[in-house]
């Protein structure tokens, strides 16, 4: 029996009923980021967010679990900032490259979010898949 392959990248596409400049602002203005970033049950307090939105600029924020107050600090570096079309950043802690692009649909906006996960480069991944295979054998 073979396990499903380990997912290394994914793309999410959404169409928002809002003009592109508004969507761009939602991503790049800390006041706005605080309103939506994080899944249900997790908040990102405005006071924890700093953003220097330019190529090479960094951002930091802390997500907080609503139920138990657990803090999840996060951050990264902007690699590309092409207002209002494209935003690329790399996560600070985990090897995660995120590219978000925005297409103007005339009052509505198509957002595409592409996430690539790497962990120590391709060589490391090969070692990992071997290990996960062995692990799967050991566990099942």
């Amino acid at each position: 029996m073979t396990d499903p392959p380990i997912e290394r990248e994914f793309t999410i596409t959404r169409v928002f009923d809002a003009p592109r400049e508004l969507v761009w602002k939602a991503w790049t203005d800390p006041d706005q980021v605080a309103r939506w970033f994080g899944p249900a049950g997790i908040s990102t307090p405005r006071s924890t967010i700093t953003m220097d939105v330019r190529p090479g600029g960094t951002f930091e924020l802390t997500m907080v679990g609503d139920a138990d107050g657990t803090e999840y600090p996060s951050g990264g570096t902007f690699l590309e900032v092409d207002e209002p079309e494209r935003l690329v950043w790399r996560d600070r802690d985990i090897d995660l490259l995120v590219t978000v692009s925005f297409v103007d649909l005339g009052g509505r906006t198509e957002m595409t979010c592409h996430v690539v996960g790497r962990t120590g480069g391709v060589e490391a991944y090969d070692g990992w898949s071997t290990m996960f295979d062995k692990l799967a054998d050991a566990l099942h």
């Binding site: 997912e7 939602a26 802690d93 090897d95 996430v115 062995k134």
Partner: protein, 111 residues
């Protein structure tokens, strides 16, 4: 899995000797001496690697003080294998909220 737990998992997996130790433990539990045998490193070094793996929750140690055989804990590794799927869930859920937020903004602008 919380982001910080993932970080410690990946930090633990970043080292080739530690990955090799985990592969060895996938075959069954082993003592520090047994683990050190195939590696060109000291027992002390393997002991240190084991502490990192233990701290990351990837390995448990037996209680017998002398031998303390190490054993693989599969769960964090399985979580690591599925970590990107977790991020997809994270982003999908965030974008649901972004959608709500943008609608609210639009309404405010239209007023």
């Amino acid at each position: 899995m919380p982001v910080d737990q993932l970080s410690s998992t990946f930090a633990a997996l970043a080292d080739p000797t530690r990955r090799a130790i985990l592969e060895r433990l996938a075959d069954g539990e082993a003592t520090v001496n047994e683990l050190a045998q195939p590696f060109p490193v000291t027992v002390q070094a393997v002991s240190k690697h084991l502490k990192v793996l233990e701290h990351a929750g990837l390995v448990t140690r037996g209680r017998a003080a002398q031998w303390r055989p190490a054993r693989l804990r599969g769960r964090p590794l399985e979580d690591a294998a599925g970590w990107l799927a977790r991020y997809r869930q994270f982003f999908e859920a965030s974008f649901d909220r972004l959608d709500d937020h943008l609608r609210a903004m639009q309404r405010r602008r239209d007023d």
